[in-house]
């Protein structure tokens, strides 16, 4: 037990270290921008005095290392700085418009929406892909297996927006079952929210299910050659029972790993899908900020995405160690 805790702590420390280095990479990348924030805020008609004053206000006259630690310290306390675009808008509309100008205020509700989308997707995708994977392993090399193989390969390799538009065509335009725009706002009932989220979630499900299902199938088929499976078969167990009782528990480690990795993949896929469905999530905010070069928001979104990605990979790592005793004692 001690060793397990030690290994988990080691992994956690490694994950934190990676996150730290990643934050340095993101910060350095942003600092490679020509000119600086002050010129970016003021635009072309900036006078040197105005630039100097804004530089002082934002602390840009400090050396990069000081600024990095200020940014990181702020980020750790949930203060991600001020958004350029919103700050400009607020100063244009008057001081007290109630417009949220800090990045944290902008991100918080969208983060929740994205998490909701990911949760709905996982809720559909995990059971579906496990069932399909087990069935494909059970009836391998049958027509069913071939058909799922070709279908999943097709849906893995298609771009997300292709799948999204095909789903829109059939489920929103030709048979208006679900709304094609996901305008989510506060005070919506859970059912309404679910209805608006369902189409993007289905698109992501198509993308993710394929991979999870193929890995489940491969993991189970790998095990089917083991002697204890042979034994179970010889004593007259039904194929379904052999797979559910003997193969599945042993295949759990790779399957959990794949689920966690695919949830990590969701984070990337979410960007394109959110843009297609105009879903008010963090991915859409990220793309919009990239287009108008709203640096603080881009930086913050990037950090959040990277953190979630690292966290899920870490989770996959730890879970696979926990589920496989052999990994606990590395040679």
């Amino acid at each position: 037990m001690q060793s397990v805790i030690r290994i988990i702590l080691q992994r956690l420390a490694l994950g934190l270290l990676t996150l730290f280095v990643v934050s340095i990479v993101i910060f350095t990348a942003v600092n490679m921008l020509p000119g600086d924030f002050a010129e970016a805020i003021l635009g072309q008609g900036a006078t040197p005095e105005a630039v100097a004053s804004i530089r002082r206000d934002l602390g840009l006259d400090q050396p990069p290392i000081t600024r990095y630690f200020q940014w990181l310290g702020g980020a750790l306390q949930g203060d991600l700085g001020n958004s350029f675009a919103q700050a400009n808008f607020a100063s244009f509309a008057g001081a007290d418009t109630g417009v949220s100008t800090t990045v944290a205020q902008q991100i918080a509700p969208r983060f929740e929406n994205t998490m909701f989308l990911a949760a709905v997707t996982a809720f559909i995708a995990v059971p579906v892909s496990l069932t399909l994977g087990i069935l494909a392993a059970l009836f391998r090399n049958s027509v069913f297996d071939r058909a799922t193989n070709v279908t999943t390969l097709t849906s893995i390799s298609s771009p997300e927006f292709f799948l999204a538009y095909v789903l829109i065509l059939f489920l929103a335009v030709l048979n208006p079952v679900l709304p094609s725009l996901s305008n989510i706002f506060d005070g919506m009932s859970f059912g309404e929210r679910l209805e608006k989220t369902l189409l993007p979630a289905l698109t992501l499900t198509l993308v993710v299910t394929a991979h999870m299902m193929r890995m489940t199938r491969a993991a189970i088929i790998n095990l089917l050659a083991s002697p204890y499976i042979e034994m179970a078969r010889l004593k007259g167990m039904s194929p379904m029972r052999v797979i559910v009782k003997h193969a599945l528990p042993n295949a759990l480690a790779p399957i959990i790993n794949v689920i966690a990795l695919n949830l990590a993949y969701l984070i990337t896929g979410v960007v394109v899908v959110e843009v297609v469905f105009v879903y008010p999530g963090i991915g859409q905010l990220f793309v919009d900020s990239v287009k108008i070069r709203d640096i603080p928001v881009v930086q913050a979104c990037c950090l959040i995405f990277a953190a979630a990605y690292i966290l899920l990979n870490l989770l996959a790592d730890i879970l696979s160690i926990l589920s496989n005793p052999r990994l606990r004692h590395p040679k």
Partner: protein, 400 residues
Amino acid sequence: MSTLLTLALLLVGIAASGWVLRFAGQKATGNAPTFRDMPFAVAFGYVLGACLLLFSVWYFFQPTVTEAGVPNAGVVFFRWAVQFFIIATIAAYLFRVLGRSVGTAWSKKLFRQMPLTASFGVLVVILYAFTAIFAGWLAPHGQEEIFTRVNVLPGGNAATGGDPLHPLGTDQIGRDLLSRLIYGAQNTVGIAFVTACLAFFLGGSLGFLAATLQGWLDQVLSRAVDVLMAIPSLIFALLLMTIASAWAGSERWLLTVYMIIIIAVIDSTRVFRLARAVGLNIVVMDYIEAAKLRGEGLSYLIFKEILPNATAPLLAEFGLRFCFVFLTIASLSFLGVGIQPPLADWGTMVRDSAQFINFAAFSPLTAALPLLAAGAIALLTVGVNFVVDWMLHRSSGLKE
């Protein structure tokens, strides 16, 4: 609610007929092993499959225009999909027959072992390469040529707002869409190919270098790759594109060059991992030791000893890498930060024509436009993946 009820009833009905099928089969054949050992799930699957097939055939032969004169868009799209599927299957089959009878003994043998999906993939890759190389001759107009008639509807029928000059219509500023679709092959596929090659050159040579030299260089490179891989690639690409767009300023073509470099660097990390892993397995071989003792230089070791022995896994990886790069570029273009106008490109075309999909119920042909561009992207990646899947299956020696 009634839809759900109907579905549930249908499933119960199928389950019942599955049981009846198995029971009748057992009685009729005198308990033949096929029916005696058939699990219930399999019988259920057979009936479900048969029902789906019957429904498809019935739906396929529905009229395309309803009595009120409105196009029955669902049927139209379904017919297109089925026709495409049938044509693709026949083309792949004929291509495989052709490959089996023409060519050298080696290529004949290759085609003999090929499943239909793989031969379809090879056919798709060849067609795309042909279109990309000869786009200038194939396209009826130039990609930047602007015509006076804007927003011409596809179909080429003057009575329905089309123009025989422009079979797929023109866009909002009057460029011929068919030509842009064909040139898109050149730009999107060409740029993706260049990027994948660059990523391969970069990642492959550094990976082999790390595997051969080991020591501190290996440590530094591996840790750097670990960090770069900890950021999701599309997110990282978008972040760097923000900076690149500031650097490029108004020089649009420069942004495309930056994009190639950025994506190549991000993707080379994955190639590095594979090349290093494959290289490490080769470096411990005796013939490497012998070459070292002969006093061969580093470049000889990498290019003459390691590379030829690592081609098979690297080739499969190249196919997958190309797909990833292609999809990343298409996604970036779709999000509006990838390949820049006036170059024609599929991702941008999808974004620009996406709203047409809402007219599907009235004019299926108009709505097909964004799907055509997105489908062009999907078809190539699907084709390449089919080929790679077969290659991996072959090299892994799985015969099951």
